[in-house]
Amino acid sequence: MITLGQIAQELNLEVATGAENLERRVVAGYASDLLSCAMNRAKKGYVWVTLQSHSNVVAVASLLDLAAVIITEGNRPDEETVARAQSEGVCLLLTPKTTFTVVGELAALGVRGEPEQG
C-alpha cells in the first residue's frame, strides 16, 4: 500500500498539517464535496479528496480516522481549521489541481475506491 508521503510527493501536494503522519498507508480513496456523503462512504485509512476547506472537514476526517484530506482547487483552510487539524492529528494536503485531476493521479498510483482484498 502506498503511503501519504509518496502520494504527497508524486502529486506535488503541499503538506498543511500532519507531516508526522506521512508514513501512514492509504487504504483507499473517496471524493465528494458533500460532508454527509463522505461520512457515509469514506472509512478509516481512506484519503478524501474535496474542495471544501472549512473546519468541519477536519471533524469528519477525525471522526472517521481518515489517512488524509486532499483539498483541491487552491482552497486553503483558515488558521482555525489548521489549528484544529493539528490538535486532532488530521493530515491536510493542498493542491491547486481539480478534484478530477487528483483522483486520476491517485488512481494511476494504484489507489482504489475500495480497499484491496487480501
Partner: protein, 327 residues
C-alpha cells in the same frame, strides 16, 4: 516512531524524580581510621565499589576500590583510609532531582556520590546503576498506572453493579456554529474508545451522532441538546431542539431531500443524506416533530457481542449479548 515518546518520558523523569527515590540506603560507611585492608573486606563482603568516610557523623571523604588498588600497588594496604580517601567530597542533596546527579557524574567523572539531607547529614549513596534502576522502575510504574486506568475504563460497566448502569454525556449545541461542528460527536467517540467499544460500534455511533449534531447546527432556530447514553449493551443518542420542527417526516427521511439553503449547501452540508445516514448506522431510530414546537430524534445502536477471541466475551460479555433481542 514509538521510541520518541519514551525518550521524552525518560527526559521528563530525570527532572521529576528526586534523588531520594533512587539512592541506596542504608549507607555503609567507614571511619578515617579504618585501614585499607579492612576496607577491602568491607567492599568485598558488601559487593560495593566505594564508601563514604564519616568522622563523628560528619562526611569527611569518600574512598573507592580504585583507591584500594592504588594502595595495593604502592604497598600501603595497612594505611588508614584517611590517607588514601578523596576529599573534599562532592555531594548531592536528597531532595534534588536526578538530573543534578547526572550533571555531577559527567562534570566530576566520579562513579559514586554521597547523598546528604538539607542539614548536610549523610542519608544515602548514589551510582549510575541506582539511577538506571530507579528510572526503569518509575517507567514501569507509569506503565502500570496507565494499564490500570485503561483496565478500569474498560471494565467500568462490569465493576459497577446496578440494575441498570449507564453513562450520560450531555452537550449543548449552538445553531449555525459550523466551526465547532462535530466536536460533541468527537467527544462521544473518544469516550466509547476509552470504554473499549468495538471499532464498528464506534464508527456507527460517530456517524449518527455527527449527523444529529450537524442537524441541530444547520436546521434549528436556537440550537439544541445532544445526549449520549452509554450502557453496556446499547448506546442511545438523543437530539432535541425547540424548533422550527419538521413538516413532513416521511419526506425528510428520503435520501437526497434537503431544505438547506444554498449557502449551507455550498459548504458541503445539507446534502439531504443526514437522516438516511443515521438510519443506516442505527439499530432503531425514532423521529418525532411538531412544527413550531420542536424535534426529538432518538437513535439506538446496539453493542453486539464480538464473535471470537475478544476480552469481552471471555469476561462475561456473552451473558449480556444473549439477552439482546434483534431489532
Amino acid at each position: 516512531m514509538s521510541q520518541v515518546p519514551q525518550i521524552t518520558r525518560i527526559q521528563e523523569l530525570i527532572y521529576e524524580l528526586p534523588i531520594e527515590r533512587v539512592m541506596t540506603t542504608p549507607v555503609i560507611t567507614v571511619s578515617p581510621d579504618t585501614t585499607m585492608s579492612e576496607l577491602k573486606e568491607i567492599l568485598r563482603v558488601n559487593r560495593i565499589s566505594g564508601v563514604p568516610v564519616l568522622e563523628q557523623g560528619r562526611l569527611v571523604g569518600i574512598v573507592s576500590i580504585e583507591d584500594l588498588i592504588k594502595a595495593l600497588e604502592s604497598g600501603d594496604i595497612h594505611a588508614p583510609v584517611r590517607e588514601r580517601m578523596s576529599a573534599p567530597v562532592i555531594t548531592v542533596r536528597a531532595s534534588e532531582s536526578v538530573v543534578e546527579a547526572v550533571k555531577k557524574f559527567a562534570q566530576y567523572k566520579v562513579g559514586r556520590l554521597p547523598v546528604v539531607d538539607d542539614d548536610g547529614n549523610l542519608v544515602g549513596t548514589l551510582t549510575g546503576g541506582d539511577i538506571t534502576r530507579g528510572l526503569l522502575e518509575a517507567i514501569g510504574l507509569d506503565y502500570h498506572a496507565e494499564e490500570i486506568s485503561r483496565y478500569r475504563a474498560r471494565h467500568i460497566f462490569e465493576d459497577i453493579v446496578s440494575d441498570q448502569t449507564g453513562l450520560i454525556l450531555r452537550y449543548r449545541i449552538k445553531a449555525r456554529d459550523f466551526t465547532g461542528g462535530g466536536s460533541a460527536s468527537s467527544k462521544i467517540k473518544r469516550a466509547l474508545d476509552r470504554l473499549g467499544a468495538p471499532p464498528q460500534v464506534q464508527r456507527r455511533v460517530a456517524i449518527a451522532a455527527y449527523e444529529a449534531e450537524m442537524n441541530l447546527i444547520i436546521h434549528t432556530d436556537r440550537g439544541g441538546e445532544l445526549i449520549a447514553e452509554i450502557q453496556p449493551e446499547v448506546i442511545r443518542i438523543v437530539a432535541t431542539d425547540n424548533g422550527p420542527g419538521i413538516p413532513d417526516i416521511e419526506q425528510a427521511m428520503q435520501p437526497g431531500f434537503s431544505t438547506a439553503p444554498n449557502w449551507i449547501r455550498e459548504l458541503g452540508f445539507g446534502a439531504g443524506m443526514g437522516l438516511s445516514n443515521i438510519k443506516k448506522c442505527s439499530d432503531a431510530m425514532k423521529l418525532e416533530s411538531q412544527v413550531g414546537v420542536g424535534t426529538r430524534l432518538e437513535i439506538v445502536v446496539r453493542v453486539q457481542p464480538v464473535i471470537s477471541g475478544s476480552v469481552q466475551q471471555s469476561e462475561g460479555g456473552r451473558e449480556q449479548g444473549r439477552e439482546q433481542e434483534k431489532p
